[in-house]
Subunit: 901 residues, 2 copies
């Protein structure tokens, strides 16, 4: 018989943390904590397999489930010495979701379940607090009505508002037990009116209603969206945790809180967290009251007057601090804890791996190696390479003028400027139109996930460091200022008021997520200074990786930045980028308009000194390192004037009649420029273009050599090769130019000639092409376009639907399509090495900076990856991880790399 | 020691017809004829290997060559009892080229070589005819001066013109021996003036000059062009034939002629040919004098008064007729002969396989099987499938009004209309611009090859059935009317005068190459009636082929034509073609402009009855045969209005504001539509479109079944599949529609669902996709575009250069790129069969009608090919040939198929 239900708690504990897939994150860790002897209120977990069964069988449960739940509930009753539905000593439970990975706020929770008109009296008796009992009851009806029965929570709020109006009471806290009793009656009337059925009085019915609500919530749109963004398979399902209630709202000796074993923003090793006295757990996370710091240190850091838990409840704090140390040592990682103190007794409600900023992750990993908790390799594997992005992006220039209107909580680090929008939808729309936006909300909720993902920054006027906005933004690496209470954010009127200033929709705001500052207007940014931890980790990574990491760069600025980030050469210098310069484009255009070779050569002659100077500078910056220069690649018409004004200007300066300009423009028009007259096809039809470029490369390299005294071996890369014959013709042309230059200058240097592999045909005939190539560089951008028959420029109309349907797990332009494109790359690597054992193999598409793609590159033994400058550190770490995983598992086969990544 | 020189003739005969590659076509057949005891003037062949050596070694000869030539020449002197350069009894020779395959008129010929001021006297003595001797001498100087020394032939013609003006003589025949002697002196002066050197007097110098001229002519542009058009590798080289002269111009008992052993136009088994009395061979081919028929039958057919050879030289004719029968029996094929009669003695100068029209080829092949000369399989292999095209294209409607201006010789069958052009260059330019042109020339020359290839038809005012124009046009399958002597074709003034009518450049002419009629204006055409021979051969082909042949068709007209041509079903019905109909496009556009599913469904509802009727009719026509229907494939914007007028119209009828129309148009614009939102991506994003189409298919099929009583199994084809997931989603949708329709109608039918394989990714993951597909149809058009990264619409700018450089041997859109695209197709076929052994595999790209590509399909064991209706017979024959070759050679591997084809 399948075991569908696992108990946890002191007396009966069936699970442990190894059973995450089955019990979900929350469930397995509750069992693990119970196993460690920590105070966990007893309960049980209904497995994720039930969820899968539920959806596979038309939303019905396995037959044995009911019996197993009864049995587990009985065990809880036993331990708690209370009885579910008992009118004198009722057991109350919470029902919570718990998927394999934490999905904060995404799944619905019901507290105080088991209360009804009978059991409320038992609670009153047991607690000796009628007001608490009836408040708990009304909370239960409100939560259950909202989450399980689908009654709009405004309906309930209205009842309280009306009650307060009628009685003249101001605060919820002013309402007495009698008041709550009246409200409970009205709540039940609301439920009956809205649903057509009375509120369920039977605790069993309540329980199964809540369990079903959890399973149903797995498929609500916001959950689907979250899974999409975080690439969580639908098939994983969620578990349901039923746990006996403990109360943090039974009086002043009660509290509830959320904590991290280290500071999740900075990584600092001190106990970081918040608590609220006399409150239920959801009050902290929802950000309705601003919570107090756990520690004195924390309180002082935040400049708060409210006493810390360390100060107000020193005994319980000490106990909690011990739990903290025990759990971190046990899990060897930072933990994110939830706890409740009921009448001076500590209860642990959750532990999980703590989400942290990249900066914190680095510090924690390095510190833990130094503390002897983990190995260097574990530290390397623990950092998500993508997260380094957060460290590498600009921060605000401290010298810039800042028009600070207020300061909120520094909820997620980084800096961002953008137009103010007030809804998730608007954030998405404007971002899709290419705008940068700041999403401004009183507080965020799971419905806002898509908009938060789209926005550059998030600003809220309510909620703390562990509010929804803060947690989600840190997870996304998006800058966030939370709880900026001085701001009045009016999402209906679409204004923000700060004292006497008004900010309207569309105005520019700048956020500094590291200080909490909110500024009007755009503020200059500067490069981040990288911490010593970063350097340490990168050093470890460099020691562990096999593949080299180069950069894609053509400007001196990018090349310098990349070298500072640790690039070991240039993998792709796109020479055409040098042509777009305003000062040169006229010459380029004249070259294109030339109708014969002589005129074309004359125009090229003017471009030569400029290209030579470009290359000389680049070779100088990359002195001693390899530089791959790709010859002209895009269709010529990309360089042409398009606007009326541009056309007029060009015609006038060039002295070419308008008519002729127009004719040539129409001649150069292409239906599918991506598949048109470009790449080496230009070299075949207009050999003089590549000759000029080759000359500029060799002359520039000699110039740089003379200056630095160090030789840089240029790697001349011919783009868009489909056949060996093309490469033979163009290689010969390059070699002829090299010979001429060397003879003219009386000096030589090493160089190589290779090709970009970016067409399926090139992959299929790589064995032939490799006979004429010193290197292959996989241009996986174009290879993805051709292999998938998908234009990157046009895919926006259908690619989101494709990822939504799971047709592609990830955007294949962001992460290499291993099954399709990857197979071709593997074929080509194999074919190339078959006929040219010494061939150098690298990748220079955008995928060169994507960790999953880098792991694939390792699996097929490429020599290097090349990526944009800011991704170089990411690639260094990802390459190290790939090396470690590769050795650990034996080389994974290409097809498996994707899954492993 | 390498043997560079092979003798032929009665006494010393080194070669035979098996040595074609070494001796060239002409050389090997001269040796073969000599071996058969036929009267061949002795001579020798310098091998094609010398040509290769010559170009490999900076245009120099192997050391041993000179000695071997001397030796062979001595053998000729011996047999002829004359001596090269001897003043009393000089041996004269011709020097001719001879490549492996016949290249008519492409290579230069020199006659009467060995004449100089001394030997001319010997010729005078030997012939007893001073006028003949000096005429021969001046002909030699003229020909040698032109061909070897590069003196413009106008220079020589001017000398004769001036001489005639000064002496008052009218005709060349009026010029006496003395006159020719004066002209010889002037010719020599011309040569010295033009070249700076005296005309070579030394026969040895003359001989080597001519040999070199032959080798050099291998690389002149016109030869290169011819090879390109006829796909002849440059590496083959040419041989040189040196042969003792015989003279057809020594008097009235002399003649020269060209003959075919059967009629090369109709295939009729009678002796077909022309001769000229008292003429040299070149006079016949050059078309300067209109020649006489060989036979009485031929003379009567042409309605000529000039006596046939059968009548005027009955003895020699009889001898020639015996040669004819002997050669045909020996070669088992129609021969193209050249002969000369010198003073009543017959000499054979050439035999080769006769070029013939497709109609003739068919008749000859079928007749020869019936005569027991060849087997059915030999007959099948002997017909070039491409040539059937000639039989299948329309001829003039006999009931159409024809404005006939003149009648010339029916030189190459077929009918064509087009704009009049007067130069090869203009023919090419206009054709490239999409015009259809008729190339009009007094006579054609090898320089005109490119233009003849481009033109729809060729018209000449001079020359006979074996003139350059006629021979080349027949080879190309281009319609040609030759020798329309009533026309004055003025290529400088760009007019044609016919009596009092004037036709200008750009006017429309129609030619009937089967009757020789020339008509002003365009004339209606009709389908050809196919001969019984065609039916016989097709029957043999059907008996020998393994692959089925289907057609690509969507209109009833095409479908009917294809079925008549023997199509065994439809391999590709492009449903979108049904949408372009003027009456429907408005509904299609409204469907596209719909901004929500409901509006889109409403517009689709209007299209449903039309699509259903389309399919019902198609299924009826193809009753009992499979029909593959491809669901909507092209990007939606292809259907949209583009011109201002169209946009206005659409907006008005649809009642959509202009602004909105414009916005939607810009939204639908794509950078690379070929790689954009099309194919199954439309089905994924707008499922209702495919649902409507599927419904139309199933309802239409049931309708047709009810009508014909015979079921047609629809094959629903999903285009542009790249992943199995896409196919799963769309297959399910189609199956749902089928189930609904069957339930509604209370009736079912067999159907299958498959996919077009047209993306590299689909090929690479075919093993997965095949698990969800009943069939694959290779869409090699798009697969070529994506695999090669080459847009068919844009390739014109570079593809000619690519074929010119030999980067691709043939246009990869016309003939499958076996090494690249073919490899993917092979991978996919293999992958598909691995997981779905019963999967049906076919091809439906343009390549499905290309014989070389069909052989590739056979080599990888596809089940069928599908091509345009007019190519169905071509495919049937090509499939049979592929079967025969496949069995003969064992299955050739894919990579070898190209070479074998």
């Amino acid at each position: 018989m399948t075991k569908w239900v696992y108990s946890f708690g002191k007396d009966k504990n069936d699970g442990d943390s190894s059973m995450r897939n089955l019990l979900g994150g929350k469930g397995c860790n509750l069992a693990e904590m119970a196993g460690l002897g920590l105070p966990v209120p007893p309960g049980f977990t209904i497995t994720t397999e039930v969820c899968t069964q539920y959806y596979d069988n038309d939303q019905s449960y396995p037959d044995e489930l009911k019996g197993q739940v009864e049995e587990a509930l009985a065990a809880v009753e036993n331990q708690m010495n209370a009885k579910f539905g008992d009118s004198s000593n009722p057991l109350l439970v919470s029902v919570r979701s718990g998927a394999r990975v934490s999905m904060p706020g995404m799944m619905d929770t019901v507290l105080n379940l088991g209360l009804n008109d009978e059991t409320v009296k038992g609670l009153e008796e047991q607690s000796g607090d009628a007001r608490f009992a009836w408040d708990s009851y009304r909370r239960f009806i409100q939560m259950y009505g909202d989450v399980v029965l689908g009654v709009d929570h405004h309906e309930f709020e209205e009842v309280i508002d009306r009650y307060k109006r009628e009685t003249g009471l101001r605060q919820d806290t002013d309402i007495t037990a009698e008041g709550w009793k009246e409200i409970v009656a009205e709540y039940k009337a609301v439920v009956e009116r809205e649903t057509g059925n009375p509120f369920p009085n039977d605790p069993q019915e309540q329980l199964w209603g809540a369990i079903s609500a959890v399973f149903k919530s797995w498929m609500v749109p916001r959950a689907i969206t979250y899974r999409k963004i975080h690439e969580i398979p639908e098939s994983w399902g969620t578990a349901v945790n039923v746990q006996s209630m403990v109360f943090g709202n039974m009086g002043e000796d009660c509290s509830t809180g959320v904590a991290f074993t280290r500071d999740p923003s900075t990584g600092e090793n001190y106990f970081y967290g918040e608590y609220l006295i006399n409150a239920q757990g959801e009050d902290v996370v929802a950000g309705i009251r601003t919570p107090q710091s756990l520690t004195k240190q924390g309180r002082e850091k935040e400049g708060s007057d409210l006493p810390s838990m360390e100060e107000s409840m020193p005994e319980v704090f000490k106990q909690l601090d011990e739990v903290r140390l025990k759990l971190e040592k046990h899990y060897k990682d930072v933990q994110d804890l939830e706890f409740t103190v009921q009448k001076g007794n500590l209860f642990m409600l959750q532990t999980r791996s703590g989400k942290r900023t990249a900066k914190a992750a680095l510090k924690i990993a390095v510190d833990m190696v130094e503390e002897g908790l983990i190995t260097q390799e574990e530290a390397l594997l623990r950092i998500d390479p993508q997260s380094l992005d957060q460290l590498l992006h600009p921060t605000l220039d401290p010298k810039a003028n800042k028009d600070v209107v207020t300061k909120g909580l520094p909820a997620s680090p980084g800096a961002a400027s953008g137009k103010v929008v007030f809804s998730s939808e608007e954030a998405e729309i404007q971002t899709n139109q290419g705008e940068k936006v700041i999403l401004c909300r009183q507080e965020t909720s799971p419905e806002d996930i898509s908009g938060m993902h789209a926005a550059q920054g998030i600003l809220t006027s309510r909620g703390g460091m562990t509010s929804h906005a803060a947690v989600v933004a840190r997870g996304m690496g998006t800058c966030c200022v939370a709880g900026a209470g001085e701001l009045h954010i009016d999402v209906v009127g679409k204004t923000i008021t700060a004292g006497d200033r008004t900010i309207k929709e569309g105005d520019i705001l700048t956020l500094d997520g590291s200080t909490g500052e909110v500024m009007v207007g755009a503020v200059d940014t500067i490069q981040p200074e990288l911490s010593g931890d970063f350097g340490t980790l990168m050093e470890w990574a460099d020691g562990r990786r096999r593949m080299k990491v180069r950069t894609n760069a053509e400007t001196p600025l990018d090349a310098k930045a990349a070298r500072e980030f640790g690039a070991e050469g240039i993998g792709l210098c796109r020479t055409e980028h040098m042509f777009f310069d305003q000062a040169r484009i006229q010459n380029v255009r004249e070259m294109i308009f030339a109708t014969n070779e002589a005129d074309r050569r004359a125009a090229l002659e003017k471009l030569l000194p400029e290209q030579r100077a470009d290359f000389a500078e680049l070779f100088e910056i990359m002195s001693g390192l390899p530089v791959t220069v790709r010859l002209l690649d895009p269709p010529l018409h990309e360089f042409l004037p398009h606007s009326q004004e541009d056309i007029d200007n060009f015609a006038q300066v060039a002295g070419i009649p308008h008519e002729k300009v127009r004719l040539r423009l129409s001649e150069l028009h292409e239906t599918n420029p991506m598949l048109g007259h470009r790449g080496c096809r230009l070299g075949i039809t207009f050999p003089e273009i590549y000759e000029m470029q080759a000359r500029a490369i060799f002359e520039g390299a000699l110039e740089a050599k003379a200056k630095t005294g160090q030789s840089t071996a240029p790697e001349v890369m011919i783009p868009l090769i489909g056949t060996q014959a093309e490469l033979d013709i163009l290689r010969k042309a390059v070699e002829n130019v090299a010979a001429s230059v060397f003879e003219e200058k009386g000096e030589t240097l090493e160089y190589s000639v290779g090709t970009m592999i970016e067409l399926p045909r090139a992959c299929l005939t790589a064995d032939e092409i490799a006979q004429s190539a010193d290197f292959f560089s996989f241009g996986t951008n174009d290879l993805t376009q051709t292999t998938l028959g998908m234009s990157r420029d046009d895919a926006a109309n259908f690619l989101p639907a494709y990822v939504g349907h799971g047709i592609y797990e990830r955007d294949p332009f962001a992460s290499l399509d291993v099954d399709g494109v990857g197979r071709l790359v593997e074929l080509a690597a194999h074919g190339g090495r078959q006929t040219n054992a010494g061939i150098k193999l690298g990748i220079c598409g955008e995928h060169g900076g994507d960790p999953a793609s880098i792991q694939f590159c390792e699996s097929i033994n490429l020599d290097y990856v090349s990526c944009s400058p800011y991704r170089v550190p990411i690639a260094r770490l990802a390459a190290a991880q790939a090396s470690i995983k590769g050795e650990g598992l034996g080389k994974p086969k290409a097809a498996e790399a994707k899954k492993a990544a």
